[in-house]
């Protein structure tokens, strides 16, 4: 099997790798953002989200993937029995735990004054968070989010353990079928780089432009 054929096989795994990473990234936003605000503004219930963060930041993804897929899969075949669901669930919640840290720093960067100004015009706490804090928090987070996205692309390689035919799984299979231990991994490394940096770069540049424009 020549290099080109191997490349095509690997390339066909890219959409899956990308969709796992992007879906997890979005889950991470949806989970991480409220958690960050809960930790800053609702200190009484922080212990709940604290436990969640500790679990998902402290346990290796590969353990969680195996645990949810093989442990809960048989009991809940339509959800945890679905490898893509488990991948997005584990990576998404892990990313949420990381992202909440990024957002917490950003909330501090935006500053409490903006929150007070929001409340002074009659917005409730959560409305002020939504209309005043959230848009600015994103501007402060882009650098961190860029590296978080890169991390997710890399972590998506772990999901080969639950059998999804993404980039990593295909590389491992090529190792046997093409009887070549080097080329598939060199090629997949190049592909990983190619899909990581454009988005991380774009996020960073967008963030810097916004920050400059808004004088943050």
């Amino acid at each position: 099997m020549d290099v080109w054929q191997q490349f095509i096989i690997l390339l066909e795994g890219v959409p899956l790798t990308l969709s796992i990473s992007i879906v997890s990234f979005l889950i991470g936003i949806v989970v991480g953002l409220p958690i960050a605000f809960i930790r800053v503004y609702e200190k009484e219930v922080s212990f709940v989200v604290d436990a969640y963060e500790k679990i998902f930041r402290g346990v290796p993804e590969i353990v969680l993937l195996l645990l949810f897929y093989f442990g809960l899969g048989p009991a809940f075949p339509s959800t945890f029995g679905n490898a893509f669901f488990v991948a997005a669930f584990v990576l998404g919640l892990r990313s949420g735990a990381n992202q909440s840290q990024i957002y917490r720093g950003a909330i501090r960067g935006v500053g409490d004054e903006q929150m007070i100004a929001g409340m002074s015009i009659g917005l409730s706490k959560w409305r002020a968070i939504w209309h005043v804090m959230v848009p600015q928090v994103f501007n402060f987070s882009t650098a961190g989010l860029g590296s978080e996205y890169a991390l997710l692309i890399k972590d998506s390689a772990y999901v080969y353990v639950i059998g999804l035919a993404e980039l990593m799984k295909r590389a491992i299979e090529l190792k046997y079928s093409a009887n070549d231990v080097v080329t598939p991994f060199v090629l997949s490394a190049l592909l990983y780089i190619a899909i990581t940096f454009p988005i991380a770069f774009w996020l960073d540049r967008w963030g810097n432009r916004r920050k400059k424009k808004l004088g943050l």
Binding site: E113, A117, G118, S120, I121, G122, L123, R127, V132, L214
Partner: protein
């Protein structure tokens, strides 16, 4: 609007604990600041009152208590007949009826001037898009910053930004406008334009409570001046009282200092 017997202390948690007699944490005891000690104040519709006094005396904190942006430790705040300091009151609704202008302006940095003024109209008052825009533009016209409508705060001068801040506070036609040293964070040459705006508001009969040291302005518009020091109201009276012969020594001293400074500035100009 009325404040009755307001008390407010602030400081680090440790410091507050220390005051309550927790022997373990008395290190920070000095950092407790008594911003208000039994302060009462009444403003009727159309009144313009001016609070002044040394920095660090608690004026700003007291003003924030009036708007319930800081919750007083003790005492009552009334807005019309409604008591805001009893638990369960919808403070968001109350704050919507109080305009607040900050010393450091605090415009929403991610929104244009128009967006800053529109936000409350859209999200609190639920006006239609057109109606909110119309009223926001009216307010921006009133403070004469029509050239900034689509600018972000970072693209405005301090004076423009503060006038947008004032527009944000008046657009919803609040019962009262509270202004916390609206000119003291600005470059001296920019205070004039903000003072002009405040003068216009005074002429329209707006109800205002202003913390300020702009003495010529105070003399011109204030019905009553309130000298505030160390968390209490030391003396109140019409401007003429303070400019001629205040009753208390503290007020006398402060007036002398501030009038000297003002004249010095005017001579420089």
């Amino acid at each position: 609007m009325e404040a009755r017997h307001i008390y407010k202390t602030y400081g680090s948690k440790d410091a507050l604990k220390a005051r309550e007699g927790d022997a373990k944490t008395c290190i920070g005891a000095k950092s407790v600041i008594e911003a208000a000690k039994d302060v009462s104040l009444q403003i009727r519709k159309g009144d313009i009152k001016l609070i002044f006094g040394p920095s660090g005396s608690g004026k700003s904190t007291f003003l924030r208590c009036m708007a319930m942006l800081d919750i007083p430790d003790k005492g009552e705040i009334y807005l019309g007949d409604e008591c805001l300091t009893i638990p369960g009151v919808d403070l968001n609704k109350a704050r919507a009826r109080i305009g607040f202008v900050f010393q450091h302006i605090y415009l929403f940095r991610h929104l244009t001037a128009l967006g800053n003024v529109e936000l409350a109209l859209r999200q609190v008052f639920k006006l239609s898009k057109d109606e909110a825009r119309r009223r926001a533009l009216d307010a921006l016209t009133e403070v004469k910053v029509t050239d900034c409508v689509n600018k972000y705060p970072s693209q405005m001068s301090g004076g423009q930004a503060q006038r947008v801040g004032i527009a944000r506070a008046i657009a919803r036609n609040p019962d009262i406008i509270l202004l916390d040293e609206p000119t003291s964070a600005l470059d001296p040459e920019l205070t004039g334009e903000v003072i002009d705006t405040l003068r216009d508001l005074a002429r329209e009969g707006k109800t205002m409570l202003i913390v300020s040291h702009e003495m010529p302005f105070a003399r011109e518009v204030a019905e009553e001046m309130i000298f505030y020091d160390e968390g209490t109201i030391v003396e109140t009276g019409p401007p003429s009282l303070f400019f001629n012969a205040p009753n208390t020594d503290r007020a006398k001293k402060f007036m002398t200092r501030i009038i000297n400074r003002t004249t010095r500035e005017e001579m420089n100009v």
